[in-house]
Amino acid sequence: MKKLETVLVIGAGTMGAGIAQWFTQQGLRVELCDLNTEVLNTAETKINASWEKLVQKDKFSVSQLELFKKNISYKELNGFTPKCDLVVEAIIENLEIKKQLFADLDKKLPRETLFASNTSSLTVGSLTKDLPFERQKNFLGLHFFNPATIMKLVEVVEGPQTLKENIDFLISWFEGKGKMPAHCQDRPGFIVNRVARNFYGEPLRIAKVLDRSLIKEIDTVLKEVGGFRMGPFELMDLIGIDVNYDVTVSVWKAFYNEPRFQPHQLQKSLVDRGCLGKKTGEGFYKYE
């Protein structure tokens, strides 16, 4: 009988901190680890500030807040307790760095511990190929969406050797906690980063050039007619045009230059000019 009581989250950036916060809110004991103490301290401050706000809004009681704080601990990477039910990796999207981390974790954690990566662009198969076969059976992808405490979706990615019982267990567990898990196979972009590509790619082809009035028109139509919360251009500006472009290129390459995912010159030209969206003050729109 599988259980989920203790979670080790590695990587205290935005995603890792959000994932750790969410698991803590479910009543689990969580250790959040990072190589960088400064990143760890920032994560602790942000998580605590978020909980204080939620208490003010009556989403949690003071006693719940105390329990959360008791149940989460912040540790440097080498200081984690070598025993947990699940480890979720949320570090930089670099295959070699992730593989090295998992090789180290494999030596330190029991075989029955479930290993998961929050990767959005690497396949589970590429992360596990050098791990022992028994470990690969307990390895899967858990792709959370930002902010992890609010967004309900978790893509539960079945690796080449993942045991079906692990997938079933986690899907049922997440459903019980109010998340909306979506089971998928181990392919580039999983579900969302693949199916959503045309939400950006097709509007870029309609716009063709940086015609700001047409860009605004496209955003308005997709919100007012399509019911989307944000238009594709304002969303790219928010995410970062460079970030969105990199994901597009990554999916396009992974599918051997499939034309459906082909990046658009308009997006590339903005990246080249350093117009990356809100963060630089200019992208598809201009910001004060």
């Binding site: 979506a182 999983f190 590509r197 028109e217 997709l222 399509g226 034309p259 459906r260």
Partner: protein, 229 residues
């Protein structure tokens, strides 16, 4: 508008708002169901008397062009056509009386539909007409191929079908992922069921035909479904 203008609507049973349009007869609007009546053999006087003719039929490019060219010879009033599945500019170039276009074939979750007009006053007529059947409109600067919403959506749905075909995930999982991961109002398969696979394939084929860009290649699974729908 009804007190001042004589409106003729030409439609077919497969048009999304067919039932609502039929009820407009009570408002004195002349509605021809072309699934049952030949448009050009009888009562052409109705067209001649009209101040506006709405073409709300669904057909492939050649049939629709031929039909509108024929209609263009008969009428002397502005024609407003649903060009959801077609390249609007091509139709405007070929049909002199075509002065407005709407896009209502892809149901909108907000009941709002794109429209385009090439002449003053037409936008107002379109807005009033859509208001009669409980819909809102948003004007756009160009019709393009399939307007904006149908074109973007048909490509998202096509990708979802490719993903299903390749066994990436089930329909339910894909719908769930898009609704709860990126806040889509509907999942791609839920949307496809409302629109009809046949209409999605028609638009993708039109995009492919006009651009010759392989990005518009239709998922075989979607095409198969369109042949049953």
């Amino acid at each position: 508008m009804n007190n001042r203008h004589w409106i003729t609507i030409l439609t077919t049973r497969d048009y999304p708002f067919f039932e609502a349009l039929s009820k407009l007869q009570q408002k004195g609007v002349k509605v021809f169901n072309l699934s049952e009546e030949d448009p050009f053999e009888q009562k052409n006087s109705h067209y001649l008397k009209s101040d506006f003719v709405f073409d709300l039929t669904m057909a492939d490019r050649e049939k629709k062009l031929t039909f509108l060219k024929h209609l263009d010879l008969i009428v002397e009033c502005p024609i407003i056509s649903d060009l959801s599945l077609h390249w609007g500019e091509l139709f405007f170039d070929n049909i002199p009386h075509l002065k407005g276009a709407i896009s209502c074939v892809f149901p909108s979750p907000t009941d709002t539909y794109e429209s385009y007009s090439s002449e003053e006053g037409i936008q107002e007529i379109i807005g009033t007409f859509l208001g009669w059947i409980g819909k809102k409109t948003i004007p756009v600067s160009q019709p393009g191929i399939g307007f904006i919403y149908p074109r973007v959506l048909s490509n998202i749905i096509n990708e979802a079908y490719f993903a299903k075909e390749e066994l990436l995930a089930t329909e339910e999982a894909i719908d769930r992922a898009m609704k709860f991961g990126v806040n889509y109002p509907l999942g791609p398969f839920e949307w496809a069921k409302q629109i009809g696979a046949k209409n999605i394939v028609s638009l993708l084929d039109e995009l492919f035909f006009e651009t010759k860009d392989p990005r518009y290649r239709v998922s075989p699974l979607l095409r198969l479904e369109s042949q049953g729908s």
